[in-house]
């Protein structure tokens, strides 16, 4: 029978097929942990006297609330410090490998996994973090779970689940210069809505997707959750194999050959059917930015703040009205006229080396505008080291940006990197929810190119505006 990529990966992990009310029991190949969603799960194991079943399929990193300056000092905030110390104690007690603050492999959990070669095609990957969808870029089935499910995976290395519905997102054509993976995914979310993907795994395909680098594919899959989807996937190809080969945990020798032979079968069959299909033309895409308080409220940078009165759907109209009030925006204002106080370059969406290179290329020879602060936060210490070996940090520093240590940072403002009430950011992160980057803060989601150009001009801009 013809099957989609998601169905093939699912089927390869079924421990037991459900019947009647019972769901399938799915095996989990890799479990990623961080400090915020794991402590209660470890406690649950202890209370029930249970073991961590597979410490060898589990890895932890400190990312959500770690500071990005003075990391050699103890964490100043006692609550954050306790949470990080608890992860260290738990990992020591249960035998989990941890990359702590200061470690050469520390970083955002979704940057670390792929970088170490732990994320490979055809795997199942879970984490107590919604952006686990990132790993789908390798043709893995990867999705976020809550703490109860984290505990379930710790104890059993499985999850009871019903098969996800499948949706194809076909992006044909070719991206124009200055248009990136971030613009693709913001356009997808604007098209299908923040609830459009509920219950689905999205498979991104088409010429424009095939042309993307692995890091760009991760940006696309990362924000699948912002369309409400359980996961996002891209079929593995030579680009994928080239990226994985040689990484610390990649197979070698005969294992590599056997793995690649299998990975090549991980494609949606020609006559397989999706439960839903969406099409986009890459040629028509331009830099995309959000104007509201959910990631679906986005428009091309050339547009103006929309008038809620023109929105037909009542829920969307009310949401737009509330968003404009929160964002302090007036309908009809050109998006390019919006001033920002802060530019944030980083996160599991856009904190990889290619993102830093792209932004540095725009910033080279320019200065960050007066009254604007720009934070550059690499996704991992390895990305940071790579950037420094290429001299990118000098470009950022010369432009007047801050060059920070690795972590989630201002993406969610759990550490001291936050917006103040009323401050406005252009951010390469994934969520523009009210207060996401700090209480009262206002967020515009953008690509690294738009972030860099915005830093120079002080208003939402694309690199083309700098010429």
């Amino acid at each position: 029978m013809s099957r989609t990529l998601a169905e093939k990966v699912w089927e390869a992990h079924v421990v037991r097929h459900g019947s009647g009310a019972e769901p399938d029991l799915l095996y989990i190949d890799l479990h990623l942990l961080h400090e915020v969603t794991s402590p209660q799960a470890f406690d649950g194991l202890r209370l029930a006297g249970r073991q961590l079943r597979r410490p060898d399929l589990t890895i932890a990193t400190e990312d959500h609330n770690v500071p990005t300056i003075d990391i050699e000092l103890p964490i100043a905030d006692p609550v954050s410090r306790t949470q990080v110390e608890t992860l260290r104690k738990n990992c020591a007690e249960f035998g989990v490998r941890l990359h702590p603050m200061g470690d050469a492999e520390q970083g955002i959990v979704h940057v670390v996994g792929p970088q170490l070669g732990l994320t490979q095609p055809g795997m199942t990957v879970v984490c107590g973090d919604s952006h686990t969808s990132t790993h789908g870029a390798f043709g893995a089935l990867a999705f976020g779970i809550g703490t109860s499910e984290v505990e379930h995976v710790m104890a059993t290395q499985t999850l009871p689940l019903r098969p996800f519905k499948t949706m194809s997102i076909t992006v044909d054509g070719e991206l124009k210069p200055g248009v990136t993976a971030k613009d693709i995914i913001l356009a997808v979310i604007a098209k299908i809505g923040t609830g459009g993907g509920q219950g689905y795994v999205l498979e991104y395909r088409g010429r424009a997707i095939e042309a993307l680098s692995m890091e760009a594919r991760m940006t696309v899959c990362n924000m699948s959750i912002e369309a409400g989807a359980r996961a996002g996937m891209i079929a593995p190809d030579q680009t994928t194999f080239d990226y994985v080969q040689g990484r610390p945990h990649a197979p070698t020798g005969a294992d590599w050959d056997a793995a690649v032979e299998y990975w090549k079968t991980l494609r949606t069959d020609d006559d397989a059917e999706f439960d839903a299909e969406v099409r986009l033309d890459a040629d028509e895409l331009t830099p995309f930015v959000t104007w509201g308080t959910n990631p679906g409220q986005g428009l091309p940078l050339s547009a103006s703040v929309p008038d809620p009165e023109t929105i037909v759907d009542e829920n969307e109209r009310v949401a737009a009205e509330k968003a404009l009030t929160y964002m302090g925006l007036t309908a009809g204002t050109p998006l390019r006229d919006i001033h920002v106080d802060t530019v944030f370059l980083g996160s599991c969406t856009n904190g990889r080396i290619e993102d830093l290179r792209a932004a540095a290329d725009v910033l080279r020879g320019h200065k960050v505008a007066d009254g604007v602060r720009m934070l550059v936060v690499p996704g991992s210490m390895r990305v940071r080291a790579q950037a420094e070996s290429e001299g990118l940090h000098e470009v950022f520093l010369a432009a007047g940006a801050e060059w920070r240590q690795a972590g989630c940072s201002m993406c969610l403002g759990m550490n001291p990197d936050q917006l103040k009430p009323g401050e406005r950011s252009a951010s390469t992160s994934n969520r523009n929810f009210e207060g996401r980057q700090g209480k009262g803060g206002r967020t515009h989601l953008v690509s690294p190119l738009v972030a860099a150009a915005t830093a120079v001009r002080g208003t939402l801009s694309s690199p083309a505006d700098l010429v």
Partner: protein, 205 residues
């Protein structure tokens, strides 16, 4: 978990769509190590507004949250469910939920039920007009009832059964250990495994 056959309480009408988990509980409150004690964190930012529905003294004991589509989108933080539960909320009624939030809710005995938008709107109208009218979520009959508003709901059969019987999902899965072991014996040998060893220093980028 104790068995749950339903929940009855007065309503908290929250007439908004797409309420994300960052609103239900801002991230700063997610640094606790515990599963309880989050009642003060629930909608912490919105509650600063004295007119916010949770501040209505008439609804101090209300326990059924009625809201718009896409409730609980965004972050996977189970703290959102713990905060609702700690406030005293036993059921949330909405046309649709964020998938991870929905799974988290049912694993904590919080009845998150999908009721079509027309009926949800009727419940919002009713609860706004008559704060004292009880709303019942009947898990056995799969029905929501309040005054003259009656709506059936669908719910995952496995989740329903676990709630009704109060069964521990982990215990159930551990009962299938033989099957898990058999599966593990067939896993390809190239799949990555971690040791306590340090990773090789020569990886590229």
């Amino acid at each position: 978990m104790r068995p749950i056959s339903g929940h009855t309480g007065t309503g908290i009408p929250l007439r908004r769509s797409g309420v994300d988990t960052d609103q239900i509980i801002p991230s700063g409150f997610c640094r606790s190590l515990r599963k309880t004690g989050y009642q003060d964190a629930l909608f912490a930012t919105w509650r600063v507004d004295p007119d916010f529905v949770l501040n209505d003294p008439e609804r101090a004991d209300a326990s059924v949250l009625v809201t718009g589509p896409d409730f609980g989108t965004g972050s996977s933080r189970e703290h959102a469910v713990w905060a609702l539960r700690d406030w005293g909320i036993g059921a949330v009624i909405a046309p649709s939920f964020g998938d991870i939030f929905w799974r988290n809710a049912l694993r904590n005995g919080l009845l998150a039920v999908r009721v079509p938008e027309q009926a949800t709107t009727a419940l919002l109208d009713l609860s706004e007009a008559e704060p004292w009218t009880p709303i019942t979520v009947d898990l056995v009959g799969q029905q929501v009832r309040a005054s003259d508003v009656v709506a059936d709901f669908e719910i995952d059969a496995d989740a329903r059964q676990r709630l009704l019987l109060g069964r521990d999902e982990i215990e159930l899965t551990l009962g299938k250990d033989d099957l898990i072991k058999a599966y593990e014996r067939g896993r390809p040998r190239w799949l990555p495994r971690l040791g306590q060893d340090l990773v090789r220093a020569d990886s590229h980028d």
